[in-house]
Symmetry: D2
Subunit: 135 residues, 4 copies
């Protein structure tokens, strides 16, 4: 089974715009919160990875917007790892509104592991194991 | 020739993150600034379109990140219209760093024209003409 | 006793900047989240107040920065109502880092109740009662 | 005469919120853009100061909101230095809407000069001279 994780967020006033819905750029912030917590659930604290000299910048982001989130909505961000390459990771996301679980946004991000100098590095064996752990 | 427009921006401190580069969500904000100014250059003031009951929400966004922008960089956002469908528009973007014109981010967004009730409407003839105007 | 409320937040990557600390503007976003939840705890759902035509825009904001918050820090936002005027409310805030409870930021915001036309209105009796409820 | 500088900005869609006005936290972002450009006009490039190990974090921010800015408004940010202390600087700001020059927001920020370790340092003589240059 796939490695996944779910978080719940409350839409902030600042995240909305003149159309009275969440601005389309903010879903990438929600995706990121989902990734951070998915990694934490696997024993990988992103802050510590960075401290150890391992960065995971994004090289591609895709989002499809199905329905708008609004101020004060409770939303659920589901994140899972769909691919681990030689030095890359792909995370997929789905954001829904609670309690109906209506789909708001689906997307994915692709990341490359790099050292502090920006040079790609292979996914270390210890991390690879955690990323593909069956739940 | 394609309808396009170019704007110049200065990266703000707030747009950067702990990696000391522009946060990946902010490129969607730059894309949007590019779209707004492209439309203005075609005689379409987005604020007035909204006032007249025509909204252009995004239904898909794609961004590929080639190199990071940093605080105080002068960047150029090039925006052009690559497709006008029955009730949709696709904008393409390229962001480069000046003065070398190094590619930082390329992407596109797809939009649907809707009325205030959220119902898709056909691209009005007057707008279609402007969007496909040869420059 | 004063009416107060406490929420816990996790600092997001997007909220930090090149100095590798939370950007100074984001504390106002945290203050706002604190206010919204304080109001909710008093039975006042801000989204519903807005729907009923009662807006509470800010007219003044003050923040003093004592120590920087960093990515992934768990912070606590304490919010309380320090004054209810004829048509104004003052909220005070303190943000600390957990688990040590180290003070990061203290401040306050002053708000005026207005109708949809922007005209100040007196704090309705029912709301005044809730805002000054002893806990 | 006081050292001052003026910049013009266009309000972005992302900077607005459900109240269809600029979110109150964004004025601090505008203040910052004003400071950066004021410093540049004095020959002080903030990015280079940081590179040289001199940081200027904010210790206090105050903003009074007089009238709301809206999407697509052209605004003017006036910034001036009102005080240079032993190791502190105070910047004052006024934001108005063009073309009427209507006052939207007035405020100030207080900063302390620190080294990379966060230790306060005296304002270097060369910088002090520039900050108090008569225009």
């Amino acid at each position: 089974m796939v490695v996944g994780h779910t978080i719940h967020l409350r839409v902030r006033y600042e995240e909305t715009d003149t159309m009275q819905v969440v601005h389309y750029s903010k879903y990438l912030v929600y995706f990121e919160a989902g990734r951070i917590e998915l990694l934490r659930s696997l024993g990988l604290v992103y802050r510590e990875l960075e401290r150890d000299g391992l960065l995971i910048p994004v090289v591609k982001a895709v989002a499809e917007y199905h329905a708008p989130a609004r101020f004060d909505d409770e939303i659920m961000v589901r994140t899972w790892i769909s691919k681990v390459g030689t030095s890359s990771i792909r995370f997929d996301n789905e954001i829904t509104r609670l309690p109906e679980n209506e789909l708001l946004c689906a997307g994915h991000t692709v990341h490359v592991l790099v050292d502090k100098g920006g040079k790609p590095i292979k996914v270390p064996q210890e991390i690879r194991k955690r990323l593909s752990r069956t739940k």
